[in-house]
């Protein structure tokens, strides 16, 4: 097939051919494959672009140092992670044991301790019983005792006899009223 001179690729088509030849219509693709003139024009542009890449690569400096990756941590290994877990577990166990031992020592009671405790409880019980007996004898608080004069025990007895005479006196006065006094 001879190339058709009228079908020569214009500049836009030439650029599309450089971008991607398959983007051109089939007729132009066929023309490009057979027309030496269009082929040469396309290759000239492509060569310029290839040369651009080559020169840029050549004129660019080289890296002076190698990229360094982060330092490998031993903790990432399975062995280390397991051994670390066992260390933590052992530490927790020991701590718990210490706490338990200390706690039990704090509340542990010896025979001597129990005797002291018993004596203290008995003394406390005595004190409570004494207080209860005092309350049975006189339940009034000291303030009211002062008011009614009960705080003085001597005066209290006479006062009470004055206020409430004994029963014998009452019987005597009753008999006297009925017919004279009859002394036994």
């Amino acid at each position: 097939m001879s190339p058709d001179r009228d079908l020569h690729l214009d500049e836009d088509k030439l650029l599309w051919a450089v971008v991607d030849e398959t983007e051109l219509p089939l007729t132009l693709q066929e023309h490009l494959s057979t027309c030496p003139q269009c082929r040469a024009a396309k290759e000239r542009l492509e060569q310029s672009l290839v040369r651009l890449g080559q020169v840029a690569e050549r004129f660019a400096p080289l890296p002076r140092k190698r990229v360094s990756l982060p330092v490998e941590k031993p903790s990432s290994s399975i062995w280390w992670s397991w051994s670390r877990r066992s260390y933590i577990g052992a530490a927790v166990t020991v701590t718990l044991m210490i706490v338990i031992v200390w706690w039990s020592a704090l509340f542990r009671t010896t025979p001597e301790d129990s005797e002291d405790m018993l004596a203290r409880e008995m003394w406390e019980a005595d004190r409570v019983m004494t207080e209860a007996s005092m309350l049975v004898e006189n339940a009034l608080p000291p303030v009211y005792l002062d008011i009614c004069g009960k705080s003085d025990p001597d005066y209290d007895e006479e006062f009470m006899q004055f206020l409430i005479p004994p029963i014998e006196n009452e019987q005597l006065s009753y008999d006297a009223w009925r017919g004279g006094v009859e002394l036994c």
């Binding site: 500049e11 650029l15 971008v19 290839v50 400096p61 890296p63 990229v67």
Partner: protein, 209 residues
């Protein structure tokens, strides 16, 4: 140049595809050695990729270090092991974007001189070069800078990925997250502008060693 050879050059990849894939599989399984081999295969390419966009050796080294660290940490998240290269370039591209964004922010407070930075950077790394060569190199990067300034952000990225980083259209579409037809359209527009840059075309055809 024959078409097949041309395509191979555009889509050049370090190492063979199967070699990279098996290394990625090993690295994903936890092999540090395999990842170190991947670093050996891709470090220069990633360093250059960053240098083309920052034009600073020091920044390119630091960013390359960050990019590989990020890749190392996130490798387990890579689903398709055969797409390692485009995945790595997408990390690199995001990192460079972040860097440029921060640089723009910093430039609000004090001014940068890119061309001076390039010259200084190159002089530091290539003291053995002749003064004439250095001048030519600086002129080349200046011309590239002028060309890239005329391209839109997308056109510039597609152009750089295709003709300077040697990625295929498919890889570029993965890196940028765009359809292949979008990538081709941006590439076409970038080529239109490139073709109008006679000075750089002349430099490529005549002057460069």
């Amino acid at each position: 140049m024959p078409q097949t050879a041309q395509k191979q050059h555009y889509a050049r990849a370090p190492g063979t595809g199967s070699q990279v894939t098996s290394l990625v599989k090993e690295a994903k399984a936890g092999s540090r050695t395999a990842f170190e081999q991947l670093v050996d295969l891709f470090q220069e390419d990633i360093f250059r990729m960053v240098f083309y966009r920052t034009r600073s050796t020091m920044d390119a080294e630091d960013l390359a270090q960050d990019i590989f660290m990020q890749a190392f940490k996130n490798l387990s998240g890579l689903k398709a092991v055969d797409r390692f290269r485009s995945w790595l370039y997408s990390i690199a591209l995001n990192r460079v974007r972040d860097f440029n964004r921060k640089k723009r922010f910093r430039s609000l407070f004090y001014s940068f001189n890119d061309s001076h930075e390039v010259a200084q950077s190159y002089a530091k790394t290539n003291d053995h070069h002749e003064a004439l060569d250095n001048l030519m190199i600086q002129d080349f990067w200046k011309q590239i800078g002028l060309l890239l300034d005329k391209l839109s952000r997308m056109e510039r990225e597609v152009f750089l990925l295709r003709f300077m980083d040697h990625l295929s259209i498919k890889e570029i579409s993965r890196v940028l997250g765009k359809s292949e037809s979008t990538v081709k359209t941006h590439l076409y527009r970038a080529l239109q502008k490139f073709k109008r840059e006679y000075s750089i075309l002349q430099l490529l055809q005549e002057g460069t060693p």
